[in-house]
């Protein structure tokens, strides 16, 4: 069930009604309803994988309790590693087994050793990377003494599988979400209105911007040998905008929907395209994943309180692992490694925490220096994302090679860019308007969070009406949310 589907348009009001009008006086019933709704939502993709979700949930719930009650560190470690081993084992089987087998076979073949291993004919369960990381954060936090296990299996199951975040995050922490699930919730009008605004903005980003950019990006990436470098640059830029609007749009809808149920989820994006360096970009892009890796991998490896060589090593490990988390393909690994390469100079110079504030805070326009820094950061991340988008490494090399030659100066003709649902010139204007709105709202949690608060009601309503109608009008060919495949 996609957020941008008829099914979800029927599902959400029904759950909302039952939640606030039928079960609102009984927390247990409310949580049970959320769990049933979440499992129904998940089974709409493939009910056969529901057992995997329930198994993973039960495993972490049980091992969490055993870790907490263990009488000695050795026993604690046993239960922790059992959970980690089984969780990563499942992820390995479903997501990485074929990748490693193919890579090993290829490596042996290139060394002249002809070996054949069987690959698995399995599909990737939707959201497995997300709910596995939810569960792992729970057991890690209990092991590290940051939180206590819950005794309520339903509450814990809702934490793992709450439907807005189940298939594409944000990756939640038990310390943040579980207490909200355990406490009674009251309908809060400003919170619900805020949620609706974020949902509307999320749909606009996904349907009007991401899906239309995807049509051109797909066309250009899939036929890149027919285009000059200038068009390939456009394709790469459109893919960057697509993936941002797709994923952050999904996150906006997820956060907004959760707010309708009185629950606040972790923020996942903070206007990453207005970053002045790569470190800042990573503090603003897929925040819940970056912070997960920071807390559970980077810091245990010693973080930044180790020698320079180890800091560099840790940085490479984090980014390559993050790349691999996205998918079992070398393009993701190289994408992660490229980002590591970008960020290492600032790690060495200890300047990776120099842009912690919001760019041009309190001002309308940035300085020239800030503009240059943002453009360079955007260019670097776009180049890395071109690798991310490519079908394989030869495709990526060919695509990037196609950019860096004199054809980059070719002025694209209209005939090169026909075929999208929205004319390319119109799309670029819409993207520009969108970026201006993002810029104006960059000091909020999402672009339109406070837009119109001080306007007379008819103007405020007109503004949101225009967004709703524009979303319908600009609907292109519906595309799957990019991050569902992870």
């Amino acid at each position: 069930m996609l957020f941008n589907s008829l099914g979800f348009a029927l599902f959400l009001p029904v759950v909302f009604f039952l939640y606030w009008f039928v079960t609102s006086k009984n927390l247990k019933a409310q949580n049970l309803l959320l769990l049933a709704a979440s499992y129904f939502f998940y089974s709409c993709w493939d009910y056969r994988f529901l057992f995997l979700l329930v198994f993973s949930t039960f495993l972490d719930f049980y091992t969490g309790q055993r870790i907490y009650r263990a009488e000695n560190p050795r026993s604690k470690k046993f239960w922790l590693w059992l959970s980690v081993g089984v969780n990563l084992g499942l992820l390995g089987v479903f997501k990485y087994y074929n990748f490693f087998v193919d890579s090993l076979t290829g490596a042996l073949a290139s060394a002249g050793v002809g070996v054949s291993f069987n690959t698995l004919d399995v599909i990737l369960p939707v959201g497995i990377s997300f709910y596995t990381f939810h569960g792992l954060s729970y057991v890690f936090d209990i092991h590290n003494g940051r939180s206590k296990p819950t005794d309520n299996f339903v509450d814990y199951s809702v934490f793992v599988s709450f439907f807005p975040l189940l298939v594409a995050g944000p990756i939640e922490r038990a310390t943040h979400l579980l207490p909200q699930i355990e406490k009674p919730r009251k309908f809060n009008y400003p919170q619900a209105v805020n949620g609706m605004r974020q949902i509307l903005w999320g749909y606009f980003k996904k349907v009007a911007i991401a899906d239309n950019c995807a049509e051109y990006a797909n066309m250009i990436f899939n036929n890149h040998t027919h285009y000059p470098g200038s068009v390939l640059v456009l394709g790469a830029v459109l893919f960057s905008i697509q993936i941002y609007c797709d994923f952050s749009g999904y996150s906006d809808i997820a956060l907004g929907v959760a707010r309708l149920f009185g629950i606040e989820l972790l923020r996942n994006f903070a206007f990453p395209f207005f970053s002045r360096d790569i470190a800042e970009f990573w503090r603003r892009w897929h925040i819940s994943l970056s912070s997960w890796f920071k807390d559970y991998l980077y810091i245990p490896l010693g973080g930044s309180k180790v020698s320079t060589a180890k800091r560099v090593r840790n940085t490479i490990i984090i980014f390559v692992t993050s790349g691999l988390w996205h998918g079992a393909a070398w393009t993701y690994v190289v994408w992660g490694a490229l980002n590591a390469l970008y960020i290492i100079p600032s790690v060495l110079m200890k300047s990776n925490r120099s842009n912690l504030d919001i760019v041009a805070q309190g001002k309308l326009f940035p300085t020239f220096r800030e503009v240059v820094a943002m453009v360079i950061t955007f260019a670097l991340t776009t180049l890395a994302l071109a690798v991310f988008r490519s079908a394989d490494i030869p495709h990526a090399i060919s695509f990037i090679g196609g950019i860096f030659n004199k054809s980059i100066l070719t002025v694209p003709s209209g005939a090169m860019l026909m075929g999208g649902s929205v004319n390319i010139a119109a799309l670029l204007i819409i993207v520009l308007i969108f970026m201006v709105m993002e810029w104006l709202g960059r000091e909020n949690r999402f672009a339109n969070e406070t837009t119109g608060d001080n306007w007379p009601r008819p103007f405020r309503w007109a503004f949101y009406f225009v967004i709703a109608i524009s979303t319908l009008y600009l609907t292109g060919i519906p595309q799957q949310f990019v991050y569902f495949q992870f």
Binding site: S5, L6, G7, W20, F187, Y189, A192, V193, M196, W461, Y464, F465, A468, I469, L472, Y473, T475, I477
Partner: protein
């Protein structure tokens, strides 16, 4: 909560009302003719309507649009000939239902489907055909979800655009008239007549994939045969023209498909797959699209078959 629900309902109602008003054409937003390729469906039906039975009606995808010289067939058989071939993306279901819609007793239907034609086809193409030629909406089935999507997205987008254009006195963008894939490239009978020489980028062979799908096609075609028998309509099957290089590359799959047709298809077959193979130099831009010269060669072959198999008297 009451205030929240009230506002949500009012906001949603306003949005729905706006869409509804536009889609009911309260504004002068009638669909304008489209000069694009699919727009030819209007002209094909117009010609089919004005011709008298018995007629020869060619049905299929774009290989039929590019691959038949209907004027030659008319001259040699003395029967009005209509080429309903348009685009394989419309799908077999659409093509057969369209044939049901236009066929009359004593007509002769020549059905030719591309090897990789799917039963369902592309919804986008079908919907576009239905927008330009409203009866085509009955040629394919729609789920409730698709109907809602059509109303809120497809129709709304079109009506919004035309309403805006009408209110501002502007013009909808015109489709270039000198390209092969346009409505103006078809003659009165429905044949494409601008496919002169082989396309310079004759590099389709690597992209030509041949999924194995005829099993799904056989039942709908047999069901059409039953319909034709009931209504005294003759129906014959011919293989689509295919580039010899493509045939060499895909011979095995074509052979499998032919065997399945021979085993399961109840429509009389006038030829076999190998008979429909023509030299690469006679193809325009894809493995199925003949040039004008190729079309003459194929039509001659078809007329020979008609004569040999007693389909119709041929001069």
């Amino acid at each position: 909560m009451k205030k929240f629900l009230l506002y949500i309902v009012v906001f949603s109602a306003l949005t729905l009302l706006f869409v509804f008003i536009l889609n009911r054409n309260y504004f002068p937003a009638k669909a304008k003719g489209n000069d694009g390729y699919v727009g030819a469906i209007v002209d094909k039906h117009a010609y089919a309507d004005k011709t008298k039975s018995p007629r020869i009606i060619f049905c299929g995808g774009s290989s039929t649009a590019f691959g038949v010289d209907s004027k030659m067939v008319e001259q040699r058989t003395g029967l009005p000939t209509v080429n309903m071939g348009l685009n394989g993306s419309l799908g077999l279901e659409f093509i057969l239902n369209q044939a049901r819609y236009i066929a009359r007793p004593s007509d002769i239907i020549i059905l030719s489907v591309e090897y990789n034609l799917s039963t369902e086809g592309s919804y986008k193409f079908k919907k576009e055909a239905a927008r330009l030629y409203p009866p085509a909406a009955n040629f394919f089935s729609r789920t409730i979800s698709q109907q809602l999507n059509d109303f809120f997205i497809f129709d709304f987008q079109h009506n919004f655009k035309t309403t805006y254009t009408n209110l501002t006195g502007g013009k909808l963008p015109e489709f270039p008239k000198n390209v092969v894939y346009s409505r103006s490239s078809f003659n009165e009978n429905g044949d494409i007549v601008r496919n002169f020489d082989p396309h310079p980028s004759h590099d389709f062979l690597e992209k030509f994939e041949l999924p194995h799908i005829p099993n799904a096609d056989i039942d709908p075609m047999n069901s059409f045969k039953a319909f034709a028998d009931e209504h005294n309509i003759k129906v014959y099957f011919v293989y689509p023209p295919l580039d010899d290089k493509a045939y060499e590359a895909k011979k095995r799959v074509v052979g499998i498909i032919q065997r399945e047709y021979e085993d399961g298809l109840r429509i009389p077959m006038l030829d076999n797959a190998a008979d429909a193979i023509l030299p690469d130099s006679l193809f325009y831009d894809t493995e199925y699209h003949l040039t004008m010269a190729g079309k003459k060669v194929r039509t001659e072959r078809l007329l020979e078959l008609f004569k040999k198999k007693g389909v119709v008297a041929v001069k």
